[in-house]
């Protein structure tokens, strides 16, 4: 699939009121045709700030001083917020608080964004059913959202956002409460989307499988970026978790035949390296 996306950040900095350090420092990047961008880094790296910038919620709703210029596809999240917001789906870090809290059933919650857009009720029903199936919530449609577990609430938050088929998805650690099965379902779905995705997560294994671009952040700065393969092989500090594939291959000495020194970061590459090691 070819993705027609354009991402521009030029010298973007963010400072929150009464904070001693800027949350984002001189962030610059220019990319085209990306599909899934994984954002990784330790606590206080600036990941959530970046998500708020991408969603346009900073500085519109969250107080902060923003300098520099940034643009996603043809839009500036800051200047074209209304139009841009119509194209985006955002999952915030605290996903369960993102639910409206006043819908009586999961189905109503899933329909909320569609009702707001004035969509016909027949269509709403269809879309709700489809998205519920996608996220394993079909059996919960008539339950109250309050009755769901943490992981289910997170799935509901995601489902109620993607029900409008947004062109751009911004997700801040969307799987933190999910059990391993839920996570597997989510990342599998993520790979199938046609949206441009920005996702922060501590799940480096999953990101290495699905992302075609990784941004490594530290203390508000972009430390490195590129494919997961490039980033994890360039940046080998123990302060960053590496995918299990990479760790396993490193331990076993399975390098990729293409350059004879890098280790695989996803299963496909692992197989390649494994067979190359077997052959030699």
């Amino acid at each position: 699939m070819a993705f027609n996306s354009k991402i521009v950040f030029s010298h973007v900095s963010v400072s929150y009121p009464a904070a001693s350090q800027p949350a984002l420092k001189d962030f610059s990047i220019r990319l085209t045709n990306k599909h899934i961008i994984g954002i990784i880094g330790n606590s206080r790296a600036g990941k959530t700030t970046l998500c708020h910038l991408l969603a346009g919620t900073l500085p519109k709703m969250v107080d902060g001083e923003v300098s520099g210029h940034y643009q996603i596809n043809q839009w500036s999240p800051q200047q074209d917020w209304g139009v841009y917001n119509h194209q985006t789906g955002v999952v915030l870090q605290d996903a369960s608080s993102q639910l409206t809290s006043f819908t009586e059933t999961v189905a109503d919650e899933l329909a909320f964004n569609l009702i707001n857009r004035g969509i016909q009720s027949q269509q709403i029903k269809k879309k709700v059913r489809r998205v519920a199936q996608l996220f394993g919530l079909t059996n919960q449609l008539t339950l109250s959202p309050a009755a769901l577990s943490g992981g289910q609430k997170q799935r509901l938050a995601i489902a109620s956002v993607i029900v409008t088929d947004p062109a751009i998805l911004i997700m801040d650690d969307p799987t933190s409460q999910m059990d391993p099965r839920g996570r597997q379902i989510f990342f599998h779905w993520l790979q199938q989307t046609t949206a441009l995705v920005f996702i922060t997560s501590y799940e480096v294994d999953a990101l290495a499988e699905v992302a075609d671009e990784l941004w490594l952040m530290d203390k508000g700065q972009l430390v490195d970026h590129g494919t997961p393969f490039a980033v994890f092989n360039r940046f080998t500090s123990p302060r960053i978790k590496h995918p299990v594939c990479w760790q396993l291959a490193k331990k076993m000495g399975w390098v990729l035949p293409t350059d004879g020194q890098s280790y695989p970061v996803n299963y496909q590459q692992l197989e390649e390296a494994f067979h190359a090691a077997q052959d030699s």
Partner: protein, 200 residues
């Protein structure tokens, strides 16, 4: 009129910004839960205006007033039907707290005590006529009403007895709530304060 502390946050501006719209239900919720909690602990105070106090401090006097009003209307339509008439008192409390807070009355311990006194007087002044119209001057709290009965029995005018009945209960409550609210406000992380104070 110039007032530096309010230049960023116009005192009387009330746009129903999304922040205010979510702040008001929260204030009502805090009122309710704090009240239930105080009852559970069997404390001699209500704490039922803690949320209104915080809404006034965060969102200004009008946000506080709307919170207080909404609080009593919702109460009367869900739990205790008669609390609707005291919505006037709650509006006054919201306005007073917001004004006093903007003038820095919640900064030192002494000032807070004074603020609590002012709020209790205003609250009692407004509640007294309501108590007289609806309850013959009583408040429904046993030890307050005992005082009321004693005073009326000794030929004090009903409105004086009723005012003292209400004020006695109010003063303790408002002192506790004022200190509690000031302490909590002080504990709030910066991100929350700037979010709810931000004017859009």
């Amino acid at each position: 009129m110039q007032n530096k502390s309010t230049s960023h946050h116009p005192l009387w501006k009330i746009t129903l910004s999304p922040a205010t719209i979510t702040l008001i239900p929260v204030a009502v919720g805090i009122n309710y839960v704090a009240k239930a909690f105080a009852e559970g602990l069997k404390l001699p105070v209500w704490l039922g205006s803690l949320g209104t106090f915080l809404a006034s401090m965060l969102g200004g006097p009008l946000a506080g007033a709307i919170s207080g009003f909404t609080n009593n209307i919702i109460y009367s339509l869900t739990l205790s039907p008669m609390s609707g008439v005291y919505s006037i008192t709650s509006i006054a409390i919201g306005l007073t707290v917001g004004l006093l807070f903007a003038r820095g009355w919640f900064k030192t311990k002494k000032c807070i005590l004074l603020a609590a006194l002012v709020i209790a007087v205003i609250s009692a002044v407004i509640s007294t006529p309501l108590n007289i119209i609806f309850y013959g001057g009583q408040t429904g709290i046993v030890w307050g009403d005992t005082v009321f009965a004693l005073l009326v029995g000794h030929h004090f005018p009903v409105w004086v007895a009723s005012f003292l009945d209400e004020f006695m209960l109010d003063i303790l409550d408002k002192i506790v709530v004022a200190y509690l609210a000031a302490f909590i406000y002080h504990q709030l992380p910066q991100r929350l304060i700037s979010f709810f104070k931000k004017v859009r």
